[in-house]
């Protein structure tokens, strides 16, 4: 339910893109967000490194992968981008207004993110001229290698028919272990796409609203953890290249499975504060056991004047209890019928 806005927006984006005259599409040389970076000097922390601190959102209507019909078109023109943004906001507003449920009834219980300024279409970073977050002419995640396809298929086969047997058959996010957007790489979440960056001498900490996971990145040049110590969020090491924080992450578990990845996933992220209220976040992922080549994306993050409140997941995970309880009840009912 809560994903209604982004889904609607991306479908709309695809529709509009399809309707655009082909000429307009190929002509686009739209504003790359890079030019201001050269003249603007980011603020520094007391220790003298670029100051990335604050609360940021990476909410966006731009899909990770480019709609197929756009081909190699990497940017919308400014007019196209403005039109898309308007259309997305209008669609979201219509969806809210057009609700058919009667107020005060159980059926009317829904998230009204717009009311609190929390809907994606209200985020400042939403207007991204990119047609996809993935950069380059393809704009899509490369196809999975045969071994990665087999890995995925084997996993799915093991779980097939057992999806509701026990908690370990449910996805990691439902179990409050890790949310897919937390990464690295960090992908915009469907909602609550907020994170807080905190810096101390030799460290950059990134805390995600969902689920209060904090990645503490040391920048003192120490080596990665021992190879056998695997973590859902991997093991991150950072260093500064000019005004850019570069973060190298390895030591992932084979259960992290970022878009089908293996434990050999390797992520390099770059954080550059290009304006007072913007961090350009770029990442490259590679995994020779999953893709034939590396792929990269970039996502602008916008500073928001806000605080992050506690998102306790495990503590209120009635969903898991209800899911399993529902499955057991259904089984009992069906067993009763067949007698």
């Amino acid at each position: 339910m809560i994903q209604r806005f982004p889904v609607a927006a991306s479908i709309l984006a695809a529709l509009i893109a399809a309707a655009m005259p082909a000429a307009a599409q190929t002509q686009s040389v739209a504003a790359k967000p890079a030019t201001t970076a050269k003249t603007w000097t980011p603020p520094k922390t007391a220790e003298g490194v670029p100051d990335l601190q604050g609360v940021w959102t990476n909410a966006t209507n731009t899909p990770l992968e480019r709609p197929q019909n756009l081909g190699a078109k990497e940017f919308y023109t400014a007019e196209e981008a403005a039109q898309l943004e308007k259309a997305a906001a209008a669609a979201a507003a219509r969806a809210e207004e057009g609700r058919q449920t009667e107020p005060g009834t159980a059926a009317d219980v829904h998230y009204d993110l717009g009311q609190f300024g929390l809907a994606r279409y209200q985020a400042k970073s939403i207007g991204n001229p990119r047609t996809s977050l993935i950069v380059g002419p393809e704009g899509r995640v490369p196809p999975l290698l045969p071994e990665a396809q087999k890995r995925q298929a084997d996993r799915a086969a093991l779980n097939r028919g057992h999806q509701f047997d026990g908690p370990e058959n449910r996805p990691l996010s439902e179990r409050c272990i890790i949310q897919g957007h937390e990464g690295p790489p960090m992908i915009p979440a469907g909602y609550n796409a907020n994170l807080q960056i905190q810096q101390g001498p030799g460290y950059v900490a990134i805390m995600h609203e969902m689920v209060h996971d904090t990645r503490i990145i040391s920048t003192d040049g120490r080596p990665h953890l021992a190879k056998n110590v695997r973590q859902f969020m991997g093991d991150s090491r950072g260093h500064w290249e000019g005004n850019t924080l570069v973060v190298d992450t390895t030591n992932f578990t084979d259960r992290t499975a970022f878009r089908g990845s293996s434990e050999n996933l390797h992520v390099v992220e770059r954080f550059t504060r290009t304006e007072d209220d913007t961090i350009l976040y770029q990442f490259t992922v590679e995994d020779p056991s999953t893709w034939a080549k590396s792929w990269s994306a970039e996502i602008p993050m916008t500073k928001i004047d806000a605080r992050i409140y506690e998102y306790a997941c495990q503590e209120g995970n009635y969903g898991m209890r209800n899911t399993l309880n529902g499955a057991r009840t259904t089984e009992k009912e069906e067993a009763g019928k067949s007698k």
Partner: protein, 267 residues
């Protein structure tokens, strides 16, 4: 020999420094903005998470784990040793203790609240800057931000509460409010209500130790405010870092075991 000479030196030093001065004499290294530098990975070295009060060693709650998870003794961290419960609250603590194997929020991998997060047997890291100080706990990914530049209030109660901080000389003072009633202070069932108010004091006492104090106030549960105190020790080992301790899956059998399909399915 080495231990002997070290003890002698400590003894001589102790004689030379007047007792009253010992606690206050230390001046911590400063951050670039001139505040005591508390950055680091810290951990308590006591058994307060088993019971804040003085306690002797005892058999653990799970007999099959034998001596491995039995209760280590402790001299206690409560000033005056007693927790001043109101009568009904004292009874509730006894009941909690009896049912601790299932009721302790730690069993369920729930966020520990304050002050318990500080003395759980896991490290935590202080990431300090001028306007905010982040406290990141290894256990369950607990985290809180201490706001140094405002006295704002939380919009709602939460597990880790709402922290506003300020400096008093060498001491970071953190005022913690909006804590919910669902956390415990320890595995012995010591508890509180949603009226809990905690004032923490972090004072550097040497390069690698802090003194931690927490004053606990909750008029629904206690007849007067009371205090715990303990040193915190810096992890000085090379390349020390917080690791993931994502415990939800360790608690699934406890929480959802009875709801599993029988016999268990494969996955």
């Amino acid at each position: 020999m080495r231990n002997w000479s070290r003890s002698l030196m400590i003894a001589i030093a102790a004689v030379m420094v007047p007792a009253a001065m010992q606690a206050q004499a230390y001046r911590a290294p400063r951050t670039a903005d001139g505040k005591p530098n508390l950055n680091g990975i810290w951990e308590a070295m006591n058994t307060a998470n088993w019971d804040l009060r003085p306690h002797a060693a005892a058999q653990g709650p799970v007999l099959s784990l034998g001596a491995q998870f039995s209760i280590p003794p402790g001299i206690g961290v409560v000033e005056g040793d007693e927790i001043p419960y109101l009568p009904a609250a004292a009874a509730k603590q006894k009941e909690n203790f009896a049912k601790r194997a299932t009721l302790d929020p730690e069993v369920k991998c729930y966020l520990p609240g304050v002050p318990r997060a500080t003395y759980m047997p896991y490290p935590f890291q202080i990431v300090q800057s001028a306007k905010t100080i982040m406290l990141v706990y290894e256990y369950a990914g607990g985290v809180r931000t201490v706001y140094m530049d405002s006295n704002s209030k939380a919009p709602a109660d939460s597990w880790m509460g709402w922290s506003n901080g300020h400096w008093e000389g060498e001491t970071l003072v953190v005022d913690v409010t909006s804590l919910n009633e669902d956390t415990w202070f320890d595995r012995a069932g010591n508890h509180h209500s949603d009226a809990l108010h905690v004032v923490e004091r972090y004072t550097p006492r040497s390069a690698d130790t802090l003194n931690y104090e927490a004053t606990i106030e909750d008029s629904k549960t206690f007849s007067r405010p009371w205090k715990i105190s303990m040193p915190l020790y810096r992890h000085v080992e090379k390349n020390a870092q917080l690791l993931e301790y994502k415990c939800p899956e360790f608690a699934e059998e406890v929480l959802y075991g009875p709801l599993r399909k029988k016999p268990a399915g494969s996955r």
